[in-house]
Symmetry: C2
Subunit: 231 residues, 2 copies
């Protein structure tokens, strides 16, 4: 029997910060955008297609009763104070190269898992910089890059009823103020705790762990997440 | 509030299998040996030094009221039906090369985390084969290699009172019979569940995740473990 979970406690996410979700029309991005809107935050969905972004934003506005904006990725990057990157790994570096000037001075949260898939399931891809988070940091030298939200089930996030999600979010970064902020952002999702998980150089294994959760999902017909015990 | 944890259920660990723990005088190895002896299993501690192995075995016999044997690593490898490798990463490959003929036909459980440490804490080391588990499998071509017990706190394991440990053990391997067996072995430790975590090719991130747990331990003054939710 696990002891009752307590929250590490990093304060409230400031209500005046706008949260942009690049790739916010994909399952993971839309699920996160839904949860943040439901928590009362100002959310901007970004997508390669401004039309699809606007459609997803309208859907989430309707569902949550909150205004949600939909823009192309560039517009969303510009509008957000905190910018989540939830795009496919394929094209991750190119998109960040393009957006680097726009993202200067902002907290950028990389949520991308570099995974490959074959008949035996998912596996981690090698990244020259070590991880998606480290690639983002190498490109976005004027931003503060945090890694987070790697292991949260898209299906559970995108639940219209907003049921609590039984998982912790490991938050990785080298700047305490930014990791505290993103832990507080994770804490806005019912059931979720943001837990500090180390520096960016230790992001690879957290991204890659998603492959193990996919294996567990297959074996146990589950939407597996992780909890950090004794924290 | 997490739902009550249930056990994935892979059956009982067979009482007639002897469990050898190579590196059983180190904190992690001794903690595992203590728990397996306390669970009523036949345990053999292996060490580079037969004298130190015998001393640790005598201590655990006294503590658990069970006979525990202590031998050099070669003797322990020979005596065990299931052989856990809990040695330092430095020397891991060399030891397994030496023991390969002795370990043929056995289930070998690699528990080793290839980590480095510097002023900023722990970080994952690159392994040419991908992970310690994959290195073991590459060397021990006549054994069945499973990865497990990477993220369990040595301090919590080596508790003389045998208090439950609030963690799951991710078990990695390509042979179902062997991963089921080692899940059942993990289940013998109070509080612990053995959970299938994927194939050996996905072992690296589970080994490396120990660096993240060390970061969380520093931040929260904890002995962090992991639980897989929704399983």
């Amino acid at each position: 029997m696990p002891p009752e979970l307590t929250t590490p406690g990093t304060g409230q996410f400031p209500a005046d910060l706008r949260v942009a979700v690049l790739g916010g029309t994909g399952p993971q991005g839309k699920g996160l955008a839904r949860r943040f809107a439901a928590a009362g935050l100002d959310v901007i969905i970004g997508s390669r297609s401004a039309e699809r972004a606007a459609a997803a934003a309208a859907e989430l506005s309707e569902a949550t009763g909150r205004p949600v904006a939909g823009l192309d990725n560039h517009g969303a990057a510009e509008a957000g104070d905190v910018v989540l990157v939830v795009v496919p790994w394929d094209g991750h570096g190119e998109l960040l190269q393009e957006l680097a000037p726009t993202l200067a001075g902002k907290v950028v949260v990389d949520c991308v898992n570099p995974l490959g898939f074959d008949k035996q399931g998912a596996f981690a891809l090698d990244v020259p910089e070590g991880s998606a988070t480290q690639q983002a940091a190498a490109i976005l030298t004027e931003s503060t890059v945090v890694g987070a939200f790697h292991n949260v089930s898209a299906v559970l996030l995108d639940d219209p009823e907003g049921k609590p999600v039984d998982t912790d979010v490991l938050v990785l970064g080298d700047e305490r103020e930014a990791t505290d902020l993103i832990q507080a952002l994770a804490d806005t999702i019912p059931g979720v705790r943001g837990v500090f998980g180390g520096r960016r150089r230790n992001a690879r294994q957290v991204e890659a762990l998603t492959a193990n959760l996919i294996s567990a999902n297959r074996r146990y017909k589950a939407h597996a997440g992780i909890r950090i015990s004794d924290v």
